[in-house]
Amino acid sequence: MATYQLNVNGQSKKVDVDPSTPLLWVLREELKMTGTRYGCGISACGACTVHLAGEATRSCVVPISLVGNRRVTTIEGIAQDPVGRAVQHAWVEKDVVQCGYCQSGQIMSAVALLKETPKPTDANIEESMGGNLCRCATYVRIREAIKRAVEQMT
C-alpha cells in the first residue's frame, strides 16, 4: 500500500492503495466516482476513458503509481469545460444513449477530439472514436452529436 495525492476534476484527493491499482478502480472504489466504467480492463473498449493532463486515456491500464501530479478529468467533471458542456448537450439533444454504459467514455473521447480538432472530418471522428466500443451501436448518433456540438460552439 502507498499513499497518493491526486488532482481529480480540480480537487485534491488522497488515496491509500496498492501501487498497481489502475486509476479506474481508484476512481470507482476509493473515490466512489462510478461514472467512469469498467468494460474490458485491457484498453480495448474505451468505457473507462478519462483525461490525463487533457489527453484521452484508458484509465483501466494506468496504474495509480504512474499518474503523478497530472490532472485527472472524469465524466463527473467534464461539464466544468465549455467543450464538455457542448458535447453533453449535443448528446442529449441527439438522443444518443441507449443502455448508456459506454457513453461516459464516448463523451470523454469526443471532448478530447474537439479540443484538439475543433472542426473534425469524418476521418478524424472515426480515428478518435475508433477505440470506443458501443454494443448498442449508437454510432450514427454519436457522429451526429459530435457535429452538433461543433455547430453549437461556432
Partner: protein
Amino acid sequence: MRAASRSFNQADINRRSFLRTSSVAAAGLLVSLYLDLPAFANEGAQTPPPKVYPPDAFVHVRPDGKILITVNRLEFGQGVQTSLPMVLADEMDADWSQVVPELAPAADVYRDPVFGIQMVGGSGSIAHSFTQYRELGAKTRAMLVAAAADRWKVSPDQCRTENSVVYGPNGKSARYAELARDAARKPVPEKVSLKNQSEFRLIGKKIPRLDSAAKCDGSQKFGLDLDLPGMKIAVVAHPPVFGARVKSIDDKEARGMSGVKDVFEIPLVKGSGVAVVADRFWTAKQGRDSLKIDWDLSGVELADTSQLWTKYKALARTPGNVAVARGDDKALDRIPAARRIVAEYEFPYLAHTPMEPLNATVRFEGNKAEAWVPSQFQTMDQMAIAEVLGLKPEEVMFHTEYAGGGFGRRAVIDSHVPREAAMIAKRLKGTPVKLVWTREDDVRGGYYRPMHAHRVEIGIGADGMPAAWRHVIVGQSLVAGTPFAAMMIKNGVDQTTVEGTSDTSYNLTNFHVSAHNPTVNVPVLWWRSVGNTHTAFVMETLIDELATRAKMDPIAYRRKLLKPEAKKLRGALDVLDQQSAWRTSLPKGHVAGVACHECFGTAVACAVEVSIENKRPKIHRATVAVDCGLAVNPLTIESQFQGGLGFGITQLMAGGAITFKDGRVEQRNFDGYTPPYIVDAPVTIDVHIVPGTDAPTGCGEPPVPVISPAVVNALAKLTGKRYRSLPLKNV
C-alpha cells in the same frame, strides 16, 4: 385488465409496502395516490387486503405533482422506461414533464402479461404491455375524476382532464396532486374506455428518452456501480472447460494479499469454481488470477470447433426432425442439376458481450435476503437465489438494477450468475457481496449464440422461382432440458433453431425443413433476434442469389415470391423501394444490397450501400423500412433500428466468433472477440416507419437479422462470390 385482475398476493404487498415506506422515510412528507389502500395500510393492518392488486403498484402521484410510474421491465437500452410511462401517462392525461420512471422489483404483479414471468425478451416490452399500461392510466384517471366529481358534487361526465388537472363545470379545476388522497379511496374501476388513437397526446410522438442526462454526466448507476456499507467484492475462477471441477487449490499467494477476506470452492451449475472475496475489485481479481488450481477434467467433453464442423456438416446431409413438410418431398430430385442450388452455411458461436460486465449483489440474512441484479429474468433469478439460500422466492427482496446492455445475456434460464453470487453470500452471511464477472469471464464463460450449419437444396422452376426447397439446420437447442422445452420444442425440433425458415414469409412450394439439435458441452443462449440471426441470413442470401439467376430486380423478385398474407413485409418493401436514394447515383465502387425479414411480428426491409476498403465491407449507408404496427415512440424505434443494425454486424466482423480448441475458448477479451466499432458500422442509417394503426409489435430484436445478408448480397455484386461462412473472411 390482466395485471389488476391478478389475484392478491400477500408477498407482493409486503414488498411493495417496504418500498413505499422506505421512500416515505427518505422523502419526509409523501402522499401516495393510494396511500390508504393496503400497499401502505398493511403496515398498520387497519384495512383488509383488497380483492385485486391496486394500480398504485404502477402509479404514484406525489403532493409535489411528480408522477412516479413503475416499469415492469428491465431498462437496458431499449427505452422502455420512457415508452411505457408515455403509454400510461397518455391515458392518464398526466403532465409528461412531471413523470418519473422507476424500475419494478421482482413481484408477481410485474410479470409479463403474455409470458407469465417477469422478464424482457422476445421483443415483448411494448407489444405485451401496451394495453396493460393504457388501462392502468385510464383507471387512474377515472379515479382522479371521480374524486373531483365528488368534491364538486357533479357527475364525472361533466369533468375533463388535461396535463394533470381535472376541469369541472363553472371554471372549477383541481390538480391531480390535490386529488390524490381522495382518489385513493375510490374503488379501482373494473372497466374503463380507452382513447381513440386520434386523441393520443404522447403515443406516436418522438419523445426524448428520460435517462439521457444521467447517462451523459456519469450519474446513472448500473448494477456494477452498487455500493453498500460493508460490501465485499467476489471474483470467481471458473473452470477452463465447462463442467470441470476443482481438484486442488493453491491459494497461498491470494490469502497473503492485503484486503483478501476469503478463498473457497463453490459449486457451479456445472462443475465447480473458486471464489475470492476481497474489499475491492482489484484485490479480488489479483487474488483470483494468482490462484493455482488443478482441475479435474474426467468425464468432461472437450468441445473443438473444427471437429464440431465436421460433425455438423455430416449431420446436415441427413434429414433431421421434421419442422415443415409441405408438398412433394421428391420434387427436388426431379429437377435437373443445372437448375439446382446446393448451399452449405456455417455460423460460429457468438458472445453477447454487453458493455456492462455481468454482476449480481446478494445479502443473506438467514431468514431473508436482498438482491440487486441487472436482470432480464427477474422471476427466474429471484427463484434461483432463493433456492440456493433455502428461502422462498418472496423472502428474497429483488431489486432490478439498470443494465449496461444485455441482448439476451441477462435472461439465462439457469440464472448462473445470481446463483454464484448467492453461493458466495451464503457463506458470508450478513455481508453484502457483489459478484463481478470480468470481461474474460464473460467472453470465456459460455452461454453463446450456438454455432449452426445449414444445408439447403433448391430446385429452380422454369420461371426462375423456387420449385422445391429442402433445408436442414444443425445447432444446439436453447431450451432442451429446461422448463421452456415443453412450450418451445415441437416434434423434437427446438423452434428457435428453425424460426425464420420454418415460418418464412415466402410462398415456397415443396418446402421441407428439418433440424438436428445435437448436445455439445457448451452452454448456449438466445442472442438478440435468436434463430433469425442465422436463418434470415440463409434465406435472404439464397433469395438474392435466385433473383440474380433469374435476372430480376431483388425487390421485384421478393414481392413476387412473398405470401399474399405477408402484408407488413410487402408494405416495408414498398417503402424501401420508394426511398430510391440508396440505389441511385452511387459513387464508383459502391453497390447496393437488399434483404428483408419479418420476425416478432415486425417486418423490416433493408438496403445498404457498400464498397470494399482494406478487404472489408465499408457500409456507407443503410436504409430501413419497418412496419411495427402503431409506432409508440418513433424516436426510440429509430434508435433501436440504428443500433440493432449495428449489433447485427457483429457476425460479419473478422473477429466475430467464439471458437474452441481442446474444450477451451480461444478468445479471451475484445482483443480476440471483436464486436463492431464506429468504423465498422454504417456511416448513416435512415429509418422509415410504415404508418400503422395495428397493435404495436417489437423493435428490439427485428433490426438485427437484415443487415448481414444485405451486406453480403452487395459484396456478391462486387466480387461475384457468395458468402456462406461466417465470420466474414477478408474479401
